[in-house]
Amino acid sequence: MIELINVNKSYNGTVKAVDDLTLAVPEGQIVGFLGPNGAGKTTTIKMITGILNADSGSININGIDIKERPLDAKRQFGFVPDSPDMFLRLKGIEYLNFIADIYKVPGDLREQRIKDISEAFEMEAALNDQIQSYSHGMRQKIILMGVLIHDPSVWILDEPMTGLDPKSSFTLKEMMKSHAAAGKTVFFSTHVLEVAEKLCDRVAIINKGKLLFYGTMDEMREHFKSNGSLEKIFLELTENE
């Protein structure tokens, strides 16, 4: 599970990117993190993953504080960033092995996993090529595969569907569902309400750094009728699509 308690982050001491955010992502659920562009989604995710330091508040992953025990906390999750343009001059297979080495995945286990995952994403033929020869979707896939290879209990995904073809997108969604069904944690950001609607057990809606709503989709529909600002966000999110 992921816990954020009174987390604050401001840039240059003036613009508040995340404002007193408290949020708990429980095990066994898929939680969508919704908000328009610039709402603070990526900043929040960067703080959870240890890329940015929170100004105040605490963040725990499976009960481990990311600030106090960063390495242990980082071993708990797998992260898919919003831009997959990294390690472009490594071959796919080299990237996977690099990640497996970092997360200490033993040789025979990783061999089996590489086979299984590359088959699931139809990437077997691409693993011998450098990542820079991949399309956007393929790059997305290889990063996803990098997460799957060390089989973390917590998945954190920043806009994971962007650039994936329908089939891969479907595969990913199925994987997210079965991961949550196995009692593990899935937390992902999106600005597309439809995706969240179909996939999530719960949604957290953020705008201008503030958490506006956290609950199930049904609760949300009830809630926004009586809440003007949430309705506006809801409209923005649906209109964007």
Binding site: Y11, N12, R89, F98, P106, I114, D129
Partner: protein
């Protein structure tokens, strides 16, 4: 023309060489300013040295009325330096810069993009000129007690002189890139292309030196020098033949002859630019279109291959291997960080390739080593060279900067910052070892050295390599340059690399100086280096694993 100006303006906005503008608004610029001042102060002795050399040379040569020789030789040297630097700048700015992809779809003529990029490269060369050319112009002017016109002409020459070598480098690079763009595996061929361009640059230099030194007998030269009246300038030739007009313009800045020569100089310069743009119009896009295409085989791996590749490694060796792979596969990094290691042996061989006679003089060196303090001098020199080679490859001094926008990856991976730092240091050390070994082996061809001395040399070299790698790493952790739009900016236009070279020169220079001045024996020299740099290295290691880790923590992408 207006499109050229718009384009140039946009490109120059990204021109943040001095790191004076902070990466992000609101971020402190003190570090950047401090670093710039530090580099300026560090370069000052060299600039002042060139200036006083010019000043002194004037007094010497004006006696035989050949003072123009100073300007001539100075201009040739500067042109050669600019030419050499330009090869790097041109390849990265013209071809590897990320803006290419967004410029190609715009309705622009190749020559317009080329002209704008050329201007950007020229600005970089003006910075080179500031260090090398200004002291020559000023030193000469002061010594000659020149008037206003001299300084006005100097300014014009300053702006015009680097154009020629830059054009030569551009044309050379365009031809190489045109050729390598035909290849399937472009990255690899670009690396080969880079090597070819550099060898050509070195080769051209060698041929010119040889030609100009052998085309004239010593007697004739003496005769010419005795004539006075700056006659020597008249015979200046080679690819930078146009420099003579600049020299003449400055020598006769007070009279019409000077003006005519200056006009000629500018005219030739303009003609060259026109020719260059015409050439580029046809050539440039052929090398640049499809640049980012990457080859792929889409070949399935076999189970055996998979099994072989998926052997478990430790985090530190996985990180080190990753660093080295990126260094070898990214053309810009390969040219600057890997190839650089092999440049020193080339420089060592070059003079002998050009002038075979010099070989004989080296034989004398062998006897020098045998007696007296020769072996001590060789030992400290080897130590200095190992530190210098390691610092010039710039691997550790740009290790954080090279991560660029992807620095965030280092943050979420569960690898301690200390391990990541040490993996980067290890990649620097391993290339330093390769560079130093190739230098030692090359040197052994020329000088015969007893076996025990070789062992001692290797021991002190190891200390030098480790020292330079540590200091470079510490610098880059302090001043990472993460915002760049082409890889070249991370390595070549990175002050940390320059600063680390300067540190290595000073730190390696001290033992050389001390051991020569105090007539240290071989044993004393060896012990001094081992004790001094042993302690220093341990200190640097502990600083890196404490302060360095904290610095890494603070870096935010």
């Amino acid at each position: 023309m207006s499109r050229y100006i718009i384009l140039t303006r946009v490109m120059l906005k990204n021109f943040n060489l001095l790191s004076l503008k902070p990466d992000k608004p609101g971020k402190s610029r003190i570090k950047g300013v401090l670093l710039s001042i530090l580099v300026f102060v560090a370069l000052l002795p060299m600039t002042l040295g060139i200036g006083s050399l010019t000043y002194g040379g004037y007094g010497l040569l004006s006696g035989i009325q050949q003072e123009g020789l100073i300007l001539g030789v100075g201009f040739s040297a500067v042109s050669m330096a600019v030419f050499f630097f330009s090869i790097f700048y041109v390849i990265s700015i013209f071809y590897f810069s990320k803006d290419i992809e967004s410029l190609l779809p715009l309705p622009l003529k190749p020559s317009e993009i080329l002209a704008a990029k050329f201007t950007v490269a020229l600005f970089y060369e003006y910075l080179t000129g500031l260090v090398f050319l200004t002291p020559i112009l000023l030193g000469f002017g002061i010594a000659a007690g020149a008037g206003f016109m001299y300084y006005l002409y100097s300014f014009i020459v300053f702006l015009t002189l680097p154009v020629f070598p830059l054009i030569y480098a551009s044309i050379l690079s365009m031809m190489v890139m045109r050729f390598t763009n035909l290849a399937k595996n472009r990255d690899r061929f670009r690396i080969v292309g880079g090597i070819i361009a550099m060898l050509l640059a070195v080769g051209v230099n060698a041929v010119i030196t040889r030609f100009s030194s052998s085309s004239m007998s010593a007697e004739k030269l003496q005769q010419l020098l005795a004539q006075g009246n700056n006659s020597y300038v008249e015979i200046m030739s080679g690819i930078f033949f146009s420099n003579r007009f600049a020299v003449m313009a400055l020598l006769h800045s007070g009279v019409l002859k000077g003006f005519v020569n200056l006009a000629l100089f500018i005219l030739i310069c303009m003609l060259f630019v026109m020719l260059f743009l015409g050439f580029g119009e046809g050539m440039y896009f052929k090398g640049v279109v499809g640049l980012s295409e990457a080859s792929s085989k889409r070949k399935r791996y076999t189970d055996v291959e998979l099994g072989k590749s998926s052997k478990q490694k430790s985090a530190i060796s996985a990180c080190t291997v990753k660093e080295l792979r990126l260094l070898f596969r990214t053309p810009v990094y390969f040219m600057n960080c890997v190839l650089m290691n092999f440049l020193f042996p080339v420089f060592l061989i070059l003079p002998f390739a050009v002038q075979p006679d010099a070989m004989k003089e080296l034989q004398g060196l062998g006897t020098y080593i045998a007696g007296g303090n020769g072996s001590a001098v060789i030992l400290v020199a080897a130590f200095g060279i190992s530190a210098l080679i390691t610092s010039t490859n710039g691997i550790t001094a740009s290790a954080i900067s090279r991560e660029g926008a992807n620095i965030f990856v280092n943050k979420y991976l569960p690898v301690s910052y200390k391990t990541q730092i040490m993996a980067k240091v290890l990649s620097g050390i391993s290339m330093g070892v390769v560079g130093t070994l190739s230098m030692v082996l090359t040197a052994l061809i020329f000088i015969s050295v007893p076996a025990y001395l070789i062992l001692l040399i290797l021991a002190v070299s190891a200390l030098g390599i480790v020292f330079s790698s540590f200091s470079g790493m510490l610098l880059d952790l302090n001043f990472p340059k993460l915002v760049w739009d082409n890889e070249q900016k991370a390595v070549k236009q990175n002050f940390n690399v320059v600063l680390n070279i300067l540190i290595s020169i000073v730190m390696a220079g001290i033992p050389i100086f001390v051991s020569i001045v105090l007539h240290f024996t071989l044993r004393m020299s060896f012990l001094t280096i081992v004790v001094l740099y042993g302690i220093l290295n341990i200190l640097l290691y502990s600083i890196l694993s404490t302060v360095g880790v904290r610095l890494f923590e603070k870096i935010e992408g």
